[in-house]
Amino acid sequence: MKIAVCMKRVPATDTKVKPGAGRPWIDSTGVEYVLNPYDEFAIEEALRLKEARGGAGEVVVVCVGSADAQKELRTALAMGADRAILLEDAQAELRDAQEIAGALAAAVQELGSELVLLGKTGVDRDQSQTGQRVATRLGWGCAIECAKIAIDGSAIRAEREIEGGREVLELSLPAVLSCEKGLNEPRYAGLKGIMAAKKKPLETKAPQYAAAQVEVLSFEMPPERSGGRIVGSGVDAVAELVRLLQQEAKVL
């Protein structure tokens, strides 16, 4: 089985951000970038699926990103992916979900893979759209936010958490599955993996985007919450807190 894993480069979640000059997104200078955390689950799951089939098949990581994303692609190769494709675009960070889904779907078709794994969300734009869009474009089945994946022949059983329970879905290959935390425990890339990754193929191509649909009107930092009022200390403060919740916040 040839498995395509879509992965992206995102600002680390604990990094400080400020608006960029002349573009409706962050100023990337001084920002630390990492492999999107949910994509680690997708890479790990792909590696396990391959291992469970005696190592048959191929795991190909695909990223629409700037030249800098080679670093994250090498991380995936060091974890054990076989090869990488960078759909290179210096402006990749500013592309919308439809553009990206178009480029990824085209790459998957060209690869001829029948299973696409990706993260449930990119922690940069917090969109959770790409998997569903890629599947719709390809006309494939799709299960999102998978916490469990079992593939038997071409039959797939996926589970996900929903409000107040767990949903069990059935679909078949070809398919797109998005991965949730808890699906697996991603491995660390050891020194051996890092050395091996240097020799693995990393191919660079131009993305074939679909038409852009989103018009970004503004990018703003939220006002600091005005909060920070300490009502008091210990049990003595309880009466005053309840009064405030009732009379000021009006939430009781």
């Binding site: 999102i144 958490e161 069990v168 970004v216 939220p222 309880v238 919740l245 009732q246």
Partner: protein
Amino acid sequence: MSAILVYVETKDDQPKKASLEALGAASRLGGDVVALLYGRHARAAAAKLTGSGAAKALAVEDAQRTHFSPEAVVAALAAAAATLAPRAIFFAATSQGRDLAPRLAEKLGCAQASDCTELRSSGDGKVEARRPVLAGKAYTWIRAKNSTLVATLRPNVFAEAKSGGAPAVESMPAPAADLKSIVKEIVASASGKLDVSEAPVVVSGGRGLKEASNWKVLEDLAAAFGGRAALGASRAVVDAGWRPHAEQVGQTGKTVAPQLYFAVGISGAIQHLAGMRTAKTIVAINKDPEAPIFKVADYGIVGDALEVVPALTAAIKKAIG
């Protein structure tokens, strides 16, 4: 002004609260609001939309199909959109809405805005949406370049309409669809309680509670709200195995926007704040006056959770009793 189409989720024959909020948000933007309901009890649920802001309800009753399939619902929404040419299509940002909205947007070739927290109508009638990015560290306002805007709306942020008449209910046949993913089963969680992402009151605990058995004090506080409150947790306690992942609030857990959020023994790490900073009122109880949670909390008490919470529970019971 063209209509706004809203997908109304149902549980048995009840429209979901988060969907009623989406109808409310749509009705405040102006123009006709059309609800679409899908499922075996679609008509019965549509009959409960009086005062929801919907002028019309399309009920797709599909008796043959016992299991939910996203492709079937998307096909029905696409068919409705083809006749209505709506300026926007709203979903609640629930597990269903998150699944359906991008599929529909891709099918229609539309922009989609996820987890919106504010909406407005521009001069030319386009719907514009404000949505948090980077785990709430920033926001963007976006709109569709040319066609319809598909949007999912964060639960508990938008008010229900709660006025107006009953919608005209029309039956709509389920359009043919190529079903690829089928929901075989839904296993209800043991508690059967309100989910943390839907509850108007959330009582969350962190490592400051010291051990799993101390959750009793938080359960009691939640119980004081009589079924309106759900329990939440920080990642630290989920990782420790004290609480299930379904309760985790934050960047790698659930995003909640309740009326009232209690953070008990939670330090307030950026990834936790990502999941709860849009709560209307935040109360923090922490023994460390320097804990970052106090910077976002509307009200704070410095103290030991195990002493303060039981006293608070008693006082709240008396106040709302």
